[in-house]
């Protein structure tokens, strides 16, 4: 996982670079929670651009980071969610809670 922090925007991006299963998600979650607590971002984005495989561990990872980010007043978003990943997130019904965004640009208001 690569971590990118944009201080002016209080934006934290986790670029996942590995397959997401029970094994890798435990490692990722520790690092991600550490970074969220360190920067207390307003916005946390999981970038799945490089994720080829994900099982249900991905659901737990995302929901868990949603909770961590919320506890510091931040929100969580996802981007570059491929069809396989989307199917799994939809099955768990979390897309209403954690939206998929097209880019890191701030959403235009109005």
């Amino acid at each position: 996982m690569n971590v990118k922090h944009f201080m002016e925007d209080r934006l934290l991006v986790f670029e996942i670079t590995e397959d997401l299963d029970h094994h890798s998600s435990e490692i990722i979650r520790r690092r991600a929670d550490y970074e969220i607590q360190r920067f207390m971002p307003k916005r946390v984005v999981f970038d799945f651009n490089r994720v080829v495989f994900m099982d249900s561990a991905g659901i737990g990872l995302v929901i868990g980071r949603y909770k961590t980010a919320s506890s510091f007043g931040g929100k969580l978003e996802m981007m570059h969610v491929n069809e396989n990943l989307r199917r799994i997130f939809e099955m768990a019904g979390i897309l209403k809670m954690i939206p998929i965004v097209e880019s890191l640009e701030k959403e235009k208001i109005g």
Binding site: D21, H22, H23, M54, D55, N84, M91
Partner: protein, 148 residues
């Protein structure tokens, strides 16, 4: 007519989470003999990953044990069996409910069986408390229509 087994394999691995990737990739490589689509391979990989993870986390509760995987290829179908000799499941029906989990503290989503049910064509779960659990799942691999 009895379905004819075209090929068969068995893997035994230690219940270490690092083996989850090995398990799903091995089964996917074996399944590729049936010439599945990329989607079918993705479904198989995800389902095997869920079953093996269950054996490690629930069956053996993160202690050391052996996870067995058997796969059989038929003309247009793969049958995959994942078993452990761990703690077993008390209430299978409850365990199969979407979002039901006993490991919320480990951030398990309770979606494992739901994913297996959705991604495979058939799923059966047998379990005896104290003896272990066996999950058998099958997936039809659709044959492309020949154009010549």
């Amino acid at each position: 007519m009895e379905k004819q087994v075209k090929n068969e394999m068995k893997i035994e691995l230690l219940s270490k989470s690092a083996n989850e990737a090995f398990a799903r990739i091995s089964v996917a490589a074996f399944a590729s003999q049936l010439d599945p689509t990329i989607e079918e391979i993705a479904d198989i990989k995800t389902s095997v990953s869920e079953a093996v993870t269950n054996a490690i986390i629930h069956g053996y509760n993160n202690t050391e044990g052996i996870v067995k995987i058997k796969a059989k290829l038929y003309e247009d179908e793969i049958e995959i069996e994942v078993s452990d000799t761990g703690s077993g499941i008390e209430n299978i029906e409850e365990a199969r409910e979407p979002l039901y989990t006993t490991k919320g503290n480990l951030e398990r989503s309770g979606m494992g069986f739901t994913i297996m049910e959705n991604f495979m064509d058939e799923l059966s779960v047998e379990s005896i408390v104290g003896l272990g659990t066996k999950v058998v799942m099958t997936k039809k691999i659709k044959k492309e229509g020949t154009t010549y």
